[in-house]
Symmetry: C2
Subunit: 181 residues, 2 copies
């Protein structure tokens, strides 16, 4: 028979532009939390689109549906006292707020990965910005589709001055201060 | 600081025709598991269709996509040592097997709610069989759409001879025998 602390679930939700660094921070953060013995799920926007949200497009409505589906899965993980890190552009306040409410405001940590679009565009690891500028991709967040920066983020992360590991540590410091860890 | 047994997650998957009694057994079973101090999620096919699978139809492919999405959410709950009861017609072996593999064969309990179609049709709580017989609904499982009865169910439940509570108890007895409870 093994015993464990009765741990509380929580969700760290990384929002920001494409190539802002959300997935990389998610992975660094997952490592830190795994080291602390927590079971962690990463729900990555791109991956989710291939599974839960196949068939959805990039209209405001479809984007919000995708974000709410991620929020639904996250809320179930948190309900079972698991840790979930969501990395999704999640451009609209409305759907982010729905997720906050679904998951529970005291278990939801919104982290804004605040990378300027010029930096994202320079990184452009998948060549998406180039294609969007050429008009080969439309409804691309930050180019011809809106991104509503959060004014309610618990944490704002800067990726130009800090490494993913440093940003992941900032998040765990916040979680410790909130007694979620 | 509270301590709890380190409990294992598992999934009880109820498959069977519409009106077979899946949701009622799911609710009875959830009560028994809650009484044992477990955190339980019910993923009901009808409810999931309104959220995760809005837009999907009733073709073989869409039905299997719906079932796999339920399986994905269930697998995340089980990974975090939660208990999940899925109640979904899940008519095709292929998708049920995918769920078994996703969730992990040692954490997956397939329960076949084996109610004869004549009995389901007599119950018909939502009047769906009447409408399917009239041709007002098409692709209705058991009428003009197939149901592949499982030959790999861990438990077969009979609803004509046993109450939902009795069937729920049968499931918990199985779970105890398997040391999942």
């Amino acid at each position: 028979m093994t015993y464990a602390h009765k741990e509380r679930g929580f969700c760290v939700w990384l929002t920001g532009l494409s190539a802002a660094g959300k997935s990389t921070i998610a992975q660094s953060l997952a490592k830190l939390l795994l080291d602390r013995g927590r079971q962690v799920t990463i729900l990555d926007g791109d991956v989710v689109r291939r599974h839960l949200s196949k068939g959805l497009g990039f209209s405001r409505e479809d984007r919000n549906t995708n974000v709410r589906r991620i929020g639904f899965v996250a809320s179930e993980i948190v309900r079972h006292n698991g840790v979930v890190i969501c990395a999704a552009i999640s451009p609209y306040r409305e759907a982010r707020n729905d997720c906050r409410n679904m998951i529970g405001p005291d278990r939801f940590v919104l982290a804004f990965v605040d990378t300027p679009i010029a930096v994202c565009e320079q990184r452009d690891p998948k060549g998406l910005y180039v294609r969007a500028r050429r008009g080969e991709i439309t409804s691309f967040t930050g180019i011809d589709d809106p991104y509503e920066p959060p004014d309610d983020a618990e944490i704002v992360l800067t990726t130009t001055d800090y490494s993913p590991e440093e940003n992941a540590r900032k998040v765990t410091e916040y979680l410790l201060a909130q007694e979620l860890l």
